[in-house]
Symmetry: C2
Subunit: 762 residues, 2 copies
């Protein structure tokens, strides 16, 4: 089976795209899919999770560490670089099974000869601080070869510089680059050990790059290794000591042992997460690739970081965490590695104070989570997030102050985790506080309409960011309602099961607004409902009065290809054209509250009006298409989502803002579409419901799912669902297909549940 992403030639135009496509990472750091001789011009980046820095009044963004893997090869004094010499042959490969990157380039050298340079590298899953690489050179002719390798301290920054007091020293054969971040004065250390068994080494005092020179004999292969460790002051009190220790330990183990440890962990990861699609190789590959992109950025260890909107592929979007995590990535991790979800949710708990500060800044109670969250939870989102292409002026946008659904998204995520895993300890570890503070925020944000006798949520921006400052956005109101319900449910749960913790946790809220007020608000809270005739739910008040223009017509009005469709004078703002799924997203989120007819009516109404200007959009249409029994409507949206980081065809600019990078929300969305959509898996802590809605050409979907401590295998075809349990299976789960009777099975047993033929709309 295919686990390889591969280029067979070098195309300079694809350097940026491939930097994303060939990413490595381990949740602690990301390493862009660049080549060994590249520098910041080609956007080489070792992006660190959770370490942010602000330079002057520029945007705050994550710190990129110096690149310890810089390596340049010279033959007879000529630099061999794909950027300068047309290679004879070139391949770049990413093995997503093992998370290892390989490049091999053959260069023509003088007198008709050829020199082949290869490099393999991986970002260790076993030791998160470690970058490991193996290189080789082989020439068809004798020649003089020089290798320059060391640490590239000239890092790429979008809003830098971030590292000050750069200092390089050699200690016990280890090159050490030390610097300190500008804002928080956090030390950043990169230690590098290059192991050569040949050549003469030249390293000038204080230099970060050494030169190894030797006479290469024709036909002989020269191989060397590098071990690089990255530590910051956030990881250890003595990051330098730790980094050097790490590098020495790595060298002692050697490349193969390190790789084996890494590979075993990746085997383990795939055993919990690989999804097999029978009958669709393209979908199979794209989905697996999407899962890979999620795995390389998952915070498996730290509960102080979450997943940024562009993963660890650089500093785009300020390395900030958006609602993407809760709404688009959570389901994958919930089903495959719930402890990652716990980390992600703990990150929200740790950043509660930032959310409280934001609420207070705007005069509200409780917690208003950051639209763009970094280390402290303070909002990195500016009020001017896009530049107007016509005037070059910053444009006032309302992402930061009006996208209040973020607090509901966080609550949704926490509750999903608790429901799914049954791990109620999250609630007593701060989760309840987050939930209640978000509910308090919404209570203070809401207004009561005395004539209509109802609470409303005014002046918000929903997921469809082309329509800012709207009233009663259906999605937002539905989430506010859910937040209030969860707040009450949490209180009831804690009071019943953890009365001591409850009385302690709820004490600070005794003067209100608290449960009584939440209840009052819930009792007369307005959530837009389907129109009795059309079944369409109006996206927000007066949406139906907007110009109902065709998308093609709207696009024909474009004057500048990078112009932003939203903002003050955006083309879409006065029309019914949406940026992304909004009502339909709500229908998916609360799928059990709406009939198939309502879902279908809204899908049909909103889809033609959706520009899909966000990579988060198509997967939702795929999910709901599957839900209503029209998987083939959804299939193109699924494929578009699943291939976003393979094709590199996503939006690269909004206004003059570069927004390239990887798309973890789409990666998560692809998984959701395949598993929760087409395969029809639906578990909320009770029965495992399975209601498949497979695309015509899919024979089956097979996947492992980790539920309440058990990892089971599911094989879902059009005829039957097979549950394969392990020898140590607890026997606790109950399975139901197509809404039928719940069935259980014992360890080692294969439960086969027949499916009745479903009417598909193709």
């Amino acid at each position: 089976m295919n686990w390889i992403v591969k280029e067979s030639c070098f195309d300079k135009q694809l350097v940026t795209t491939n930097g994303n496509k060939y990413m490595l990472g381990n949740g602690y750091m990301g390493y862009r899919g660049t080549l060994e001789e590249f520098s910041k011009t080609e956007l080489v980046a070792v992006t660190l999770a959770g370490l942010y820095d602000k330079e002057g009044d520029k945007w705050r963004e994550p710190v990129n560490a110096p690149n310890g893997l810089l390596t340049k090869v010279f033959c007879n004094d000529q630099l061999l670089s794909v950027l300068d010499c047309e290679p004879v042959a070139h391949t770049q490969e990413l093995n997503i099974r093992n998370a290892i990157h390989h490049r091999s380039t053959e260069y023509a050298v003088s007198d008709g000869g050829a020199l082949t340079f290869t490099a393999d590298r991986f970002v260790s899953q076993d030791n998160l601080h470690l970058l490991v690489s193996k290189y080789s050179i082989r020439s068809t002719q004798d020649c003089r070869v020089a290798i320059e390798t060391g640490i590239d301290v000239d890092v790429w920054d979008i809003n830098g510089p971030h590292l000050y007091g750069q200092k390089v020293q050699l200690k016990d054969e280890v090159l050490i680059s030390s610097s300190v971040s500008g804002e928080l004065k956090i030390p950043v250390v990169v230690a590098e050990r290059a192991y050569f068994s040949f050549g003469e080494e030249l390293l000038e005092d204080g230099a970060a790059v050494r030169r190894i020179s030797f006479d290469a004999r024709a036909g002989e292969t020269y191989e060397w290794f590098k071990y690089v460790a990255v530590y910051t002051g956030l990881d250890a009190d003595q990051p330098e000591t730790e980094a050097v220790k790490s590098v020495h330990a790595a060298e002692a183990l050697g490349y193969e042992a390190l790789f084996k440890a890494h590979r075993l962990l990746w085997d383990e990861r795939w055993s919990h997460s690989d999804v097999i699609i029978e009958g669709d190789e393209a979908a199979q590959f794209a989905l697996r690739y999407s899962i890979y992109q999620l795995l390389i950025i998952a915070p498996t260890v730290s509960e102080k970081v979450s997943i940024p909107a562009r993963g660890l592929s650089g500093q785009v979007y300020k390395g900030a965490v958006f609602w993407d995590t809760e709404m688009f990535m959570l389901p994958f991790f919930l089903h495959s590695d719930p402890k990652v979800v716990r980390n992600l949710m703990m990150y929200r708990i740790h950043t509660l104070d930032g959310a409280r500060r934001k609420a207070a800044e705007y005069g509200f109670l409780g917690a208003f989570y950051a639209w763009e969250s970094q280390d402290t939870g303070d909002d990195a989102c500016t009020l001017f997030n896009v530049n107007d292409v016509f005037t070059g002026r910053p444009m006032r946008t309302y992402f930061r102050d009006k996208q209040v659904h973020i607090s509901g998204d966080v609550v949704h995520g926490i509750w999903k985790y608790v429901q799914f895993t049954g791990d109620e300890s999250l609630l007593t570890s701060g989760g309840a506080e987050v939930i209640w503070e978000c509910a308090r925020f919404f209570y203070s944000y809401a207004y009561y309409n005395s004539v209509k006798q109802r609470f409303e949520i005014l002046d918000v921006t929903g997921p469809d960011e082309y329509h800012e400052r709207v009233n009663n956005n259906a999605f937002t109101n539905a989430l506010v309602k859910e937040t209030l319900e969860i707040a009450l449910r949490t209180a009831a749960l804690l009071e019943a099961k953890y009365p001591e913790e409850y009385s302690q946790l709820s004490a600070p809220f005794s003067s209100g607004p608290f449960l009584k007020e939440f209840k009052t608000m819930l009792d007369s809270f307005y959530v837009p409902q389907p129109d009795p005739a059309s079944l369409v739910i109006e996206q927000f008040d007066r949406y139906h009065t907007l110009e109902d223009v065709e998308l093609t017509e709207l696009k024909s009005r474009v004057l500048n290809k990078n112009e932003y469709f939203g903002g003050g004078n955006g083309l879409a703002t006065t029309t019914t054209i949406l940026k992304q799924a909004d009502v339909v997203l709500m229908l998916n989120l609360f799928k059990h509250s709406f009939s198939k007819e309502v879902k279908q009516a809204n899908w049909e109404f909103y889809e033609p009006r959706t520009e899909h200007g966000s990579s988060l959009s198509p997967c939702i249409y795929a999910l709901v298409a599957a839900d209503i029994g029209s998987p083939d409507w959804g299939y193109p949206y699924f494929m578009r989502t699943a291939t976003v980081d393979l094709t590199g065809e996503s939006k690269q600019y909004v206004g003059d803002l570069y927004i390239g990078g990887t798309h973890p929300a789409a990666n998560g969305g692809a998984w959701m579409a395949a598993v929760l959509g087409f395969a029809g898996l639906d578990y909320d802590g009770g029965v495992v419901h399975i209601n498949p809605s497979l695309p015509k050409h899919w024979q089956s979907v097979q996947l492992p799912v980790t539920l309440r401590g058990d990892t089971i295998q599911l094989r879902i075809s059009k005829d039957e669902v097979t549950v394969i349990t392990a020898a140590d299976y607890s026997g606790d789960l109950v399975f139901s297909v197509q809404g039928g009777e719940g069935k259980s099975c014992s360890a080692g047993e294969n439960l086969r549940l027949a499916l009745s033929k479903r009417e598909y709309k193709y």
Copy 2:
């Protein structure tokens, strides 16, 4: 004393400006200050009050009638026109005392001779349908003269055409142009009688212009007359019959008798309204001119029209009625001719149903008055009122749907009238209904904040239109509060004094929301208050968080001289720069509710932040400057306001929208600044308070005031106030200066009230 506006040469560049500056009018129609030979290219317009028409999907605007005064003179077959031949001498004059326009042009003719053409015209105040003109020709040499005169049926329209089925006929020597408006099919008739005592007349069948030819003898003066009547289907069932009758009657009376009747009425008008400023000729002239501009557009007869924002100077701003009338023009008419105010307020009563429709359109109760009101009260304001100069695209603006203070402005006007005149019949003639419906509108517009436990007014645009969609705009909230109070007060008044009418008028509101709800809302209604430390009242929620930029700095950011500072991406919207007085306007409106210190602090805070992008702005700063004893701060703002239509230096474009024309609100503002500001007159139906605050170089202000049926003369100097009463004075008024004891006097007596020296801040 100077009553003459005059040009002494012809400047083609000034044709548009002078069209406004030399306006004639009588409230029924306006006649632009163009010359006899001009056509639509020079914006000739006979703009009719109250007759509107909509062509296709263009903006609805008033109808311009064909110009019955068109007259061209030819000498030896050469057209004599200032547009084509440089005249030897040329004067254009407007006598504002008599409201008569005069032009005299001397042209060089062949062989060194000269021909002088003069024309006098007036728009009769005695018969509102009548245009009257007298012409003369005198040549220094014998020559062949031809005169083309008749009706110019090729009318100027901004969004036309509006007249269809144009037909010209000659009946009993009267040329009659008949047509019908496009939308409402209202007949528009112009009847013209040209009286010549010389020459041969040639009139082709169906032609609208005749040709009179004759041999002019050197040194002899040839004089002729024209009588033109304009009638529409709104005026009479048989407009043609009426027009012809009118013209015949006029001819029978003759020019001099017609002019005398006109002049006497104007004498009468000035006797009720002229303000004499001793010590400042420039101010004297400008103020008198401002009063003239108000008098020519006052609806003295009809209660179906109000005064458009650009008077009757053309179709600019759709000929629509804005808040300008109530807030800026009302005071002048209240003091000089209260029956005009009654007409203006009856117009609002007649358009109540339009306001009800607008409220219902947006889902509110009661009456939401039109931002741009025409004949029906439906809103002529579009959602896209300005074009973006950078893209040429219509820009979504929030004049129409968010400037809710208009309903409060209307209520304020009605109550002012009732208070001032004591004429409570306005309340029982529909005024109470308007007041209650506006209060109901605000009740349904308001939202209750459960945490702050108060009603708020969200999402509005205040007078400062550069900041759209703000919450708790101080000005708006203050007006809402006043509306609720007036609603309750009206009910109490009617119930006590007119119980039968009250029970009938209030019956439709018995199911509420009505008085009980108004009371509830008032009891916890939020109006922004002065900050305890700075005394500054925040213009709206979070105004103080905006970029606090200097006006010069803001202007340095301008990229296109016509770019609009407001709207979605306007330069001012994200800064503290205001379009016009907003908080300061509120301080003026509710001057008795705020201390001098608060007024001064806000004047000093907001004035440097005010762009005065509206001609309504400077007068308010003049008023409040006078109020706080700093008249010389205010003087430049007064002068700027009073000269706006003399200099023609106001804004001509917003985006690519032409907004030229006269500025009646500024004219009214100039009067307010001089009389209510500097002279310090303050009457609200009780005591006549006078608290002068004269600019340094003003010796006195003298003016007639009509109060409760008495017309008295006031002479206000720095030392004393003299009240001069007529022989038939009722003796009912009480006068108080500088807050001192009230004094009264008897008929024919001159009451002298000494002033103590006031501390002025110069």
